[in-house]
């Protein structure tokens, strides 16, 4: 009897089902594809971070995932585990994309998968939904601004690989396939101690998506899109491949107010936008195994480059952007190594005879090792830019960095420093410190320095008149980027707010000259302001509200005047409300943009500013299960009121846009 009981007990012990969830310790989001091992049996977490495995009390559960510190837990009698993995890749920003010390800064994380069924068909649409980000479009891509920055001060990463064009310094996210994206971490503020040159205004960290999906979309003005991604899981690996195709004719009607200003009757000033079309095609993929991660992306975007409403000279101009990138990261024992390459080619045709080609190629490699609380990194790379309007130029760069993390009770602190050596920009040291006190109300503060090396255009631009600007522009230096804020989590509600201040010396700004525009290092630039975000979930309602205000002043020493940064609104904000009832979901999204100067002037007059605008977007979707597939049918409208506004002066907008979409996903 006793023996029987002992055997049953052993069997019970042996058949203990262990369930758990693996989360990111910083963001709280589930970590997929983590390897969970108990007694030499291994499983991987799913998209929701969950796993189930058999184990016995006393067994050691080992959890590993590239980009995180490994964790080990001894099983007790509790068969339900919640494992928070500490992201180390955040520090290195190559493998998995999240904020360095993001817990000690103001940030926001957006789940692309959650909003792609809400009428967001392109990355251009997506950019307008990001909190703390100001996006504007004109005849080409999307220019981003964070905390009052200029576009080239925003560093955009995909799985840690920079997407900024080495030629211009700025990143255009409009051609990115949103089906390739998973999360977007919005990290306002300088972060050169981790990211190096360019991260002087903010970082937009994109990560590859997960799961399988198929979306067909259509909207006003002959816009259509098709995107698909499929995920395969086998032998501990997760491989995802997909593609995206998009077309937009964008032939919307508008009134040419410049013609009416020239005395042309209004009835003759009603026009239709021409040469405003866009064609996009992209292939992407990612692969994750417990000790390695790979990302690739190849895309081609062709656009008509119509000019401002009264300018006809661009009516036949077209541009094609080709992008390709590959990134591989791996755990090699105590070292984490990563390498990548990216190609960007821009082809411009004015429709007559003039053709311009610009290509850039970049190589990046780095390695990281953690010893105790200190992680060390070193790496390097090179950028090469060549084209018909540029002198061929190659720029090597190296860096070494160290990061120290400290925790005691409720207190956390980090200290980091990075030394960069960039050809044509010299050697730069970028330190940063942060401190945080966790509690019901978590307080955080951060301060650092940074820099931005001149882009190739800043150094090597050649005007159409063949006049070479000597490479005399130096790096711009963020001598102080500081923020202090607080976060409150209460049940289903989260509130966060921060004050920030950034001072930059030798800002690289382009000024008009006698024959062409040219870059100069100018005086000092100060940006200060505040931002806040509130999110609450009261089933069946969700509400997410953010607001930001800032003052920008570029002090020009020669003229002894200060001017605000063009196109940076003094205030902006957004609100998204969701209502779900069974298979029905309704989303209303409001975005507000304050007045913003179209030219940098001290105290710009009303005529020198674009008016404030508030845009409402409504979207309704209906979800149904068809066998093992979830189908989501969506209908909606952007700019519901049909407001005619301008993102960039002289460029008309399309007003109201109706959207429809069908998304198919496997049921979880």
């Amino acid at each position: 009897m006793i023996g029987t009981l002992a055997l049953v007990a052993l069997q019970l012990q042996a058949s203990l089902g262990v369930r758990g969830t693996v989360r990111d310790a910083v963001t709280g989001h589930p970590v997929r594809a983590a390897e969970v091992e108990i007694a030499r049996t291994t499983v991987n977490t799913g998209d929701n971070g969950r796993f189930a495995l058999a184990g016995r009390a006393g067994d050691t559960v080992r959890i590993r995932r590239i980009g995180y510190r490994s964790a080990a837990i001894v099983l007790g009698r509790d068969d339900s585990l919640m494992v928070d993995l500490q992201p180390v890749a955040l520090q290195v920003a190559q493998v998995d994309v999240r904020a360095p010390a993001s817990a000690s800064r103001h940030s926001a994380v957006i789940d692309v998968r959650a909003i792609e069924t809400e009428g967001v068909a392109t990355a251009r649409d997506l950019a307008t939904r990001l909190p703390f980000v100001s996006a504007r479009s004109s005849r080409s891509g999307v220019a981003l601004s964070m905390r009052g920055s200029r576009p080239e001060q925003v560093l955009v990463l995909l799985d840690g690989l920079p997407l900024n064009d080495p030629a211009t310094g700025s990143a255009d996210v409009s051609e990115l396939p949103i089906a390739a994206l998973g999360e977007i971490s919005v990290l306002p503020g300088a972060d050169a101690a981790t990211m190096g040159s360019g991260a002087s205004g903010g970082v937009l960290a994109l990560s590859s998506g997960s799961g399988s999906t198929l979306t067909v979309s259509a909207s006003s003005y002959s816009r259509a899109g098709l995107s698909a991604a499929h995920t395969l899981k086998a032998v501990g690996a997760e491989v995802r491949v997909g593609g995206e195709w998009g077309y937009a004719r964008n032939d919307f009607p508008f009134q040419n107010t410049e013609r009416t200003a020239a005395g042309i009757p209004r009835s003759e000033a009603n026009e239709v936008r021409v040469n405003n079309d866009e064609r996009r095609f992209a292939l992407f993929g990612s692969a994750i195994i417990p000790s390695a991660q790979m990302t690739f992306l190849a895309s081609r975007t062709e656009r008509g480059l119509v000019g401002p409403m009264n300018v006809r000279v661009y009516d036949n101009a077209r541009g094609t952007t080709d992008r390709a990138l590959v990134r591989v990261a791996a755990d090699l024992g105590s070292w984490k190594v990563a390498g990548g390459t990216r190609l960007l080619r821009y082809h411009y045709r004015d429709g007559l005879a003039f053709v311009s080609r610009t290509s850039s190629m970049s190589l990046d490699a780095d390695a990281e090792r953690t010893v105790g609380s200190v992680s060390f990194r070193l790496g390097g790379g090179a950028d090469r830019v060549y084209g018909s309007n540029l002198e061929d130029a190659t720029r090597p760069r190296i860096f070494t960095a160290a990061h120290y993390g400290w925790m005691r009770g409720r207190w956390r602190a980090t200290a980091a420093t990075r030394f960069d050596g960039v050809a044509d920009a010299g050697a730069r040291l970028s330190p940063a410190v942060s401190v945080e006190r966790q509690g019901t109300v978590t307080f955080f503060a951060r301060a650092g320095q940074g820099f931005r090396a001149p882009a190739f255009y800043d150094l090597h631009i050649v005007s159409p008149q063949r006049i070479v600007h000597p490479p005399r522009v130096g790096p711009e230096r963020v001598i102080l980027d500081a923020e202090a804020g607080a976060r409150v989590h209460r049940k289903a509600a989260t509130f966060s707010a921060a004050l920030f201040d950034r001072e930059t010396r030798d800002a690289i700004v382009w000024f008009p000259g006698t024959f062409s525009w040219g870059p100069r290092n100018v005086g000092r630039e100060r940006v200060y302001g505040a931002e806040a975000r509130f999110a609450v979930t009261l089933d069946p309602f969700d509400l997410d509200v953010w607001a930001s205000s800032r003052s920008t002043a570029l002090r020009l020493d020669i003229d002894a005047v200060s001017i605000p940064t063009p196109y940076v609104p003094r205030v902006d904000g957004g609100a998204t409300g969701r209502f779900r009832s069974g298979p029905i979901s309704v989303v209303a999204s409001l975005s507000a943009l304050g007045r913003r100067p179209v030219a940098a002037v001290p105290d710009p007059s009303l005529a020198q500013q674009l008016p404030a605008v508030m845009l409402l977007e409504m979207h309704a979707s209906w979800s149904a299960a068809v066998r093992a597939t979830q189908a989501v049918i969506g209908l909606g409208a952007r700019n519901l009121s049909g407001t005619r506004w301008q993102q960039v002066a002289g460029y008309p907008s399309e007003g109201r846009v109706w959207t429809a979409s069908l998304t198919l996903r496997p049921l979880q």
């Binding site: 080409s140 891509g141 220019a143 200029r150 576009p151 080239e152 211009t168 700025s170 013609r259 200003a261 020239a262 005395g263 009264n310 300018v311 006809r312 000279v313 009516d315 411009y348 007559l352 005879a353 003039f354 311009s356 610009t358 309007n389 255009y457 159409p464 008149q465 063949r466 006049i467 600007h469 005399r472 700004v509 382009w510 000024f511 008009p512 000259g513 006698t514 024959f515 062409s516 525009w517 040219g518 100069r520 100018v522 570029l554 020009l556 020669i558 003229d559 005047v561 001017i563 940064t565 063009p566 179209v598 030219a599 940098a600 002037v601 001290p602 007059s605 005529a607 020198q608 002289g650």
Partner: protein, 369 residues
Amino acid sequence: MKIVPRFLPLPFAAIVVLACSDSTLPFEPPVLQPGALILNGVGETGVTFVPSSGAPNSHIDFGASFDGATFTVLDNIVLSTSSSLKGDQLYVADLSNGSLQRVQLPAASNPAGATFLLSGADGARNFAVALRNSGSIARVEMRAGLPAGVTTVANAGLCPSDVFFAISALWSVDANVMCSTDYAVAGPGRLIRVPQLVSDLGRDTIPLGPAIISPLRAFAIGNFAYVLSSGAFVVPAAVVKLDLMARSVVATRIFPQGAFGATMALGANGMLYVTAATGFNPYLPKVYAIDPLTLTFQGPFAPSGSHRLLTTASGAEQPKCDAATGDAGGRIYCIDNGEVLAVLNVFAANGAFVRSHPAGTLAFDVTVR
């Protein structure tokens, strides 16, 4: 006429433009007093009148769709144009009442210099505009209360950069560069005579000589014309004098090696004032005064060159004149552009600093009244 590049390479985001001077007021007509009239081509565009009396400036706003680099002034009327990058328009400002009229020129024609033609018997005001990209001249006829009429005269050169009317003919300054593409130099500049405005009776083409590369600006004085060539790296700037009756080059004044010309103005004292620089970094254009009769540089000269000696209040040499002209007394009016603001510096005929005025935002042309 400054040639504005047609292609500016891609997204240069942060663009700084203008600022207002506290002393600038909206235009208050009529202003019949001595002073300088300045063309603000970037920022708070338009014309700014700077009275010599020290009274507040007046300004006529041309708006954001303007990028002109030169103007032509006759009595109270100011002509300037926006390039194809800003919508191909002729701007006609009336200083007597502060009004502004804009005339739409052919799309993508890339207007440059403009000039006055004889007024019609019915009171119509007539103008001519050089259209760079279409190689033609636009003839603009404006009648009160009616939309402006625009006709074009073709075959005015590869890239007409300026136009003037003299001895009963229209003259086109052909820069002879590939305006509509990449501004590549096709050959030396030319002056093309258009005998009738709207007929096709043929053209007389006067080669300006191998030293005249990319001519920008021209003035006619009597039967003679003076054309400024901006030059290039290996060919310095030059001013060529032509006998319009004989239709031939009389003389050419070559600037110092490496100098490229930026602006040329006809001073009220009859002198030509050219600004030219010998490098981009630093970019420090100097003032050269040229006697149109002899085509010789006029002093007093700076110690190290043939440009005018201009001294600041402290006695140092005036560093920079982006545009300049002279008044009847030989005083020099010099525009010094900062990063967004312009300053008008006035110098005596001997080069001594006289006074300084705020002149609005970046300025590219100046004349005196």
